[in-house]
């Protein structure tokens, strides 16, 4: 089990009801973290539309997560 700080943005923040939370989960990749938050908060957004960053660096869904990492979950962006 790893301690992962998860930060939510926009729609994900509203689903979670919090800006961030620390989860103690069995996760190998960023996708595992996303799945865990989905079960917790109910978003059905597929990863293909979303982006993820680990410790402030853009990452892929199969990027590995380590104990103590901060995972940022970005719903589909809409700048401009």
């Amino acid at each position: 089990m790893k301690s992962i700080k998860v930060c939510y943005f926009a729609m994900f923040r509203e689903h979670a009801g919090v800006n961030e939370e620390t989860l103690t989960i069995d996760a190998t990749t960023a996708a595992d973290v996303f799945r865990a938050t989905r079960e917790r908060h109910g978003s059905a957004e597929p990863t293909g539309h979303c982006k993820v960053a680990i410790n402030d660096v853009m990452a892929d869904w199969d990027s590995p997560v380590s104990d103590g990492d901060t995972v940022l979950l970005f719903p589909p962006v809409a700048g401009g």
């Binding site: 729609m11 853009m58 719903p75 809409a78 401009g80």
Partner: protein
């Protein structure tokens, strides 16, 4: 002559990109791009409009994750300068609550000739829209609101 375009001149006090809650001042930003070797200037602005997908919009709310929006924005500007040999390219994006007519995003490019200026400006706004961690919530006249591009998430809750 070509050597001129190989370095990015980061003038002191001039930001390449800003992501901030304060209003965008296009005229002030434009003046920062002046270069005696630039013959062409192209700018783009996104304005908050009163309608989207048939719904009347009252205002827009932008949320950004600034640390990564800035890094990603600077990368996009650097790509544009490399690809289109433009001299300077800056951009600014608003956060917070915006009213109809407010400038939500500004892009400005100075280049030797117009083709490069137009293409670089277009590249930057196209990339900003899909790559920057920025989200837009529309507030409608009927009291509802919705995150743009997130209808699927909304449907699932």
């Amino acid at each position: 002559m070509a050597i001129r375009y190989c370095c990015f001149r980061l003038l002191p006090g001039v930001e390449l990109i800003s992501v901030a809650a304060s209003p965008i001042d296009p005229d002030e930003l434009r003046k920062q791009l002046f270069d005696p070797a630039a013959g062409a200037y192209c700018s783009f602005e996104g304005w908050v409009r009163n309608e989207n997908d048939g719904q009347t919009v009252l205002r827009l709310e932008y949320e950004a994750y600034e640390p990564l929006a800035l890094t990603e924005g600077e990368e996009i500007l650097a790509e544009a300068k490399r690809q289109f040999l433009c001299q300077t390219a800056h951009c600014a994006h608003r956060t917070g609550m915006l009213e109809i007519g407010d400038c939500a995003v500004w892009v400005g490019v100075a280049a030797p000739h117009r083709d490069e200026a137009f293409r670089a400006c277009r590249y930057i706004i196209d990339q900003l829209k899909v790559r920057l961690p920025i989200w837009k919530k529309e507030h409608y006249v009927d009291g509802h609101s919705g995150w743009v591009n997130c209808e699927r998430c909304a449907a699932a809750t």
